[in-house]
């Protein structure tokens, strides 16, 4: 019954729970403020993540075992069918690729003739999703390439079809990819059909995207493909992002409500490509340089709020 004699204070037990509560709550709030505002604590986070990572690795084991068991039990027939389908796909792709190369040559020549800047090629790095972030509020995945593989914050991640997201946090062996469906994540896009420039935003709670600031009269149709415009200097141009799914034009509002679905398997794939070697854009004029510098993804979010 020694446990129940706390009220008598015969023994020195240190500060009371209320004092401790205030102390640790203030400490937490301070950390929150510093982390949210200044991001000074990344090195501490990296150090602690080394301690936590064994537990995280252990936690991914059951899923991996399940997958491996599934792989092991795959029927030979389905493998043969898969192989055949892939071969056919490959032949089709090869034909298209040779066409594309011819077009590329032609494009290069034309651009030379017109003295336009060349579109630069980008290289890609293959990465595998380790796990999806276990936070209801966020749409993020962690992939198995980190600072040791020269992954940097801000790099674009895509799958074989289109844009999946952007790297927002880099650990030594892991990095976090914020998906384009994350709330308020913005991607500058162009309508493929008519070159209309706009910005597509993530919806957050569903796997949808929306175009927010399109006038009711704008020329956009259901089924329009949205590709990256590339004028932001973060996303390379011409990569598919989303397809317009639904348009509500209500004359009572200045803007149309446009819902899009991402073309990439944002929630489904295991393997992703990290794009690197994007072209350096020329420096913006001095007075804007300060505003544009910190975290390009973030400064972009601020833009539409001024409308």
């Amino acid at each position: 019954m020694i446990d129940n004699t706390q009220s008598f204070q015969f023994f020195n037990r240190g500060p009371s729970p209320a004092v401790r509560l205030v102390f640790f709550a203030v400490l937490s709030l301070l950390l929150l403020f510093v982390d949210a505002r200044y991001r000074y604590l990344e090195s501490t986070r990296n150090a602690l993540s080394v301690l936590v990572s064994p537990i995280q690795r252990l936690a991914t084991l059951p899923g991996m075992l399940w997958q491996q068991a599934g792989d092991f039990l795959t029927m030979q027939r389905s493998l043969v069918e898969d192989n055949q389908a892939l071969h056919q796909q490959h032949e089709r792709d090869a034909a298209q690729l040779s066409q594309l190369q011819a077009l590329q040559q032609e494009n290069q020549q034309l651009r030379n003739l017109l003295a336009l800047a060349q579109r630069s090629e980008f290289t890609a790095q293959l990465a595998e999703i380790v796990y999806a972030e276990r936070d209801v509020f966020k749409r993020r995945v962690l992939i198995n390439k980190g600072a040791n593989d020269n992954v940097r914050i801000g790099q674009v991640v895509m799958d074989d079809i289109g844009i999946v997201g952007q790297i927002t946090r880099v650990y030594p062996w892991l990095s976090a990819v914020t998906l384009i469906t994350e709330k308020d994540h913005a991607v500058p896009v162009q309508v493929l059909r008519n070159g209309l420039r706009t910005i597509v935003f993530g919806a957050g709670d569903t796997s949808q995207l929306s175009l927010r600031y399109m006038p009711v009269s704008s020329d956009i149709q259901i089924g329009d493909m949205l590709v990256t415009s590339g004028i932001d200097g973060v996303y390379p141009p011409g990569i598919p992002v989303a397809r317009v799914e639904r348009i509500e034009r209500d004359p009572a509002y200045p803007f149309a409500r446009i819902t899009c679905l991402p073309v990439a398997g944002v929630d489904s794939h295991r393997h992703l490509l990290i794009l690197s070697g994007l072209p350096e854009l020329p420096e913006p004029p001095m007075e804007q340089a300060v505003a544009a510098k910190p975290d390009k993804g973030k400064s972009k979010r601020k833009v539409p709020e001024t409308h």
Binding site: D3, R20, L21, I55, P62, F137, A176
Partner: protein, 172 residues
């Protein structure tokens, strides 16, 4: 003592620090399993339940400071902001430490109603921080405090039984 039942007899048995640490690590592991979609919404916060259990039954060993430290680790594991889990778990531990004598008197059904309030507070603090920083709310997140409350009874029984088992083994 009319309120004490059979479980409160076991409360006074000693617990090794290793067992406490292992249980918290196991809870971190369970939180870290690849939960997705609706399962993520329904996932109870194992760490919170385990911490509350120890704060209730061993308030001298597991208190606000330790809960805060575990919260920092949870923040790193979840890549949330530093202090977000820590703040929530600090409040949780405070609730547990303040109410520990009352909770020890109660049977499991009464305890469940009491811990529900603590969990709602914990989840609300976590969500509030998120709302302040990112400016939106996912209401389905609060489903987690229901499942955490439901987990309280089975987890208390399990941990109680495991402590008992360890005691018996130590005696042999």
């Amino acid at each position: 003592m009319p309120y004490s039942d059979s479980t409160s007899q076991q409360i006074q048995r000693p617990v090794s620090n290793t067992f406490i640490v292992l249980s918290v690590l196991a809870a971190l592991l369970l939180n870290g399993l690849p939960w997705e979609g609706i399962w993520l919404m329904l996932r109870p916060d194992f760490v919170a339940v385990v911490l509350l259990y120890w704060c209730t039954y061993k308030p001298q060993r597991v208190g606000i400071g330790l809960s805060w430290a575990v919260g920092i680790f949870a923040d790193v594991a979840d890549a949330s902001l530093f202090g977000q889990h820590a703040l929530a778990y600090t409040l949780l531990a405070f609730g547990g430490v303040i109410l520990h004598r009352r909770l020890q008197m109660f049977d499991l059904r009464q305890q469940t109603t009491q811990v529900f309030g603590i969990f709602v507070l914990t989840y609300a603090v976590y969500a509030l921080v998120h709302w302040q920083v990112d400016g939106y709310m996912v209401w389905a997140f609060f489903l987690g405090c229901l499942t955490s409350t439901l987990l309280w009874a089975p987890l208390s029984i399990t941990l109680q039984a495991m402590r008992q088992m360890r005691m018996d083994r130590d005696r042999i």
